[in-house]
Symmetry: C2
Subunit: 316 residues, 2 copies
Amino acid sequence: MTLTELRYIVAVAREKHFGRAAEKCFVSQPTLSVAIKKLEDELGVPLFERAASEVRVTAVGTRVIEQAQRVLEEASAIKQIAAAGKDELVGPLRFGAIYTVGPYVTPQLIPLLRKRAPKMPLLIQENYTARLGEMLKNGDIDLILLSEPFGEPGIVTQAVYDEPFRAVMPVSHGWAKKSRIATVDLCSENLLLLSSGNCFRDQVLQACAGAQRANGAVNASLQQSLEGSSLETIRQMVASGVGMTVLPSTAAECRTADTKLTATKSFSSPEPVRRITLAWRKSFPRARAVQAVREALLACKLPGVTLLPQAAPVDH
Amino acid sequence: MTLTELRYIVAVAREKHFGRAAEKCFVSQPTLSVAIKKLEDELGVPLFERAASEVRVTAVGTRVIEQAQRVLEEASAIKQIAAAGKDELVGPLRFGAIYTVGPYVTPQLIPLLRKRAPKMPLLIQENYTARLGEMLKNGDIDLILLSEPFGEPGIVTQAVYDEPFRAVMPVSHGWAKKSRIATVDLCSENLLLLSSGNCFRDQVLQACAGAQRANGAVNASLQQSLEGSSLETIRQMVASGVGMTVLPSTAAECRTADTKLTATKSFSSPEPVRRITLAWRKSFPRARAVQAVREALLACKLPGVTLLPQAAPVDH
DNA sequence: TAAAAATACTCCATAGGTATTTTAT
DNA sequence: ATAAAATACCTATGGAGTATTTTTA
């Protein structure tokens, strides 16, 4: 049984004439006759009564043709579904970002993307890098925004921007009058940092360790650090004078920052920085959707960041 | 798009693996890969994300495959419908009989046919020969039982039995003591006959006319006849002494006949007779159903009739 | 390196065509 | 005689095969 055969019997039932039905199907009369005979043989039942004057549909034929029409309708629905899904910028995109990026980027990203791809709503999740990576590979999510390093087989990444770190301290802090902070000086401070598992915490600690090594103090251990549950919590703690911290520039300089109670300082060169990157499965078929998100990200007004519009996709 | 392709994508969606899906479909992996690629090209949308480790279904793919399953289900319903309609003795048969046959045959026919073809209910209609013929050609009815002559192009007939005529009169009638009646004698009687349009009326009049001609009275006109609306009405009228009539033997001798008030007489040779015949469209595909009805008719206990079990179908 | 899908190619079944015959009116 | 469907026969598309390559984890 083929869809073509079904189209033929429906046409004959409509036209009650093999020749006219063949015309409607854009085939010759013998082609249609043979095809219908084949179907009747396969089903083991005559569908039509052929008389010289008129073609009549048998009782079984009536039911078979009714069902055939249903099949053809359902089949044409497939084409409609496919047509609707043709535009990569239509349909939701499951998007994830790490905790230290999402809150500062998505508020700007969403309206920008809405302009570029109004029919592509973002389904947004925030999570740790590790969890986002799992979900990405697992197919639970389509695109993630996180901090390098990141890369696994089957995953493509493309850098979006570099984001410098900022030292944030109470205005009462001694460093509040400095114009810039040296990274190595952080080692002598108690830093409020995110709990373990947040990549930003590790990046800050690594920046400190790196600065120490660069200054020759190879074995010096880092100061113990207090822990906060989110960058916003930490900033509240800093504002209340508990201590100082290091934040990514987008977090340090976003409009919710309380500029009265805290001072925000850049680091002196070499400025510690993290690279923020998009990642998706190599096999993910909506490349244009990914690029639309990337372009929207590049259009975001993110304080302090260096956009990387030329960055090439990297295949790991 | 073909049903085969739909089966392939459903299999891949189930197995999440082209090779295994191919096995389930009893085809080689390249065959399946090529077919799916063809469908994806036709739809213009990728249905699967192929990664070395795993095959994932795309968002559109999910919807397409869901719909494909629906199509396949509906298609398999066609096979079921056909299988159910395979037995010619299953499903109603639209049966018609002329007014002067139906009431005397169908009461016996129905239980006999019920034994032979329990799943083939008869949808019975009674009407005039002309109307039954129209309906038969028109496809509104499948099989009719009527009196010869009958035959049109595209119609097959097969005689079932010969039915002799009987003279029926009030017991008070002078002929009530005769053992047999001569057909020619009817000409001098006022006969109660059916209204015009009933073939039996014409057959009786023709029998009379024929007998007259045979006796040399070529130009003698028939006596005027009174008209009744049905054979049963006429019999009531005879019983009440209005006059006499001629009935087919099945009507004259059926168990509802009032034997007290009427006398029923056979005709002397040559006995006037009508031939009762089945007729159906040559193209009607349920030959076995027709034969089942014919066999049931031949098994009926019909008084006076001569069965014609050997009669061959006649193609007009 | 191993596993999986894609590609290359070959072959044959069959869908479709034209010409003709059969059938029925 | 005419109209319609069936049949015969031919062609070519494409579905399915095997062998091989490419890809990627």
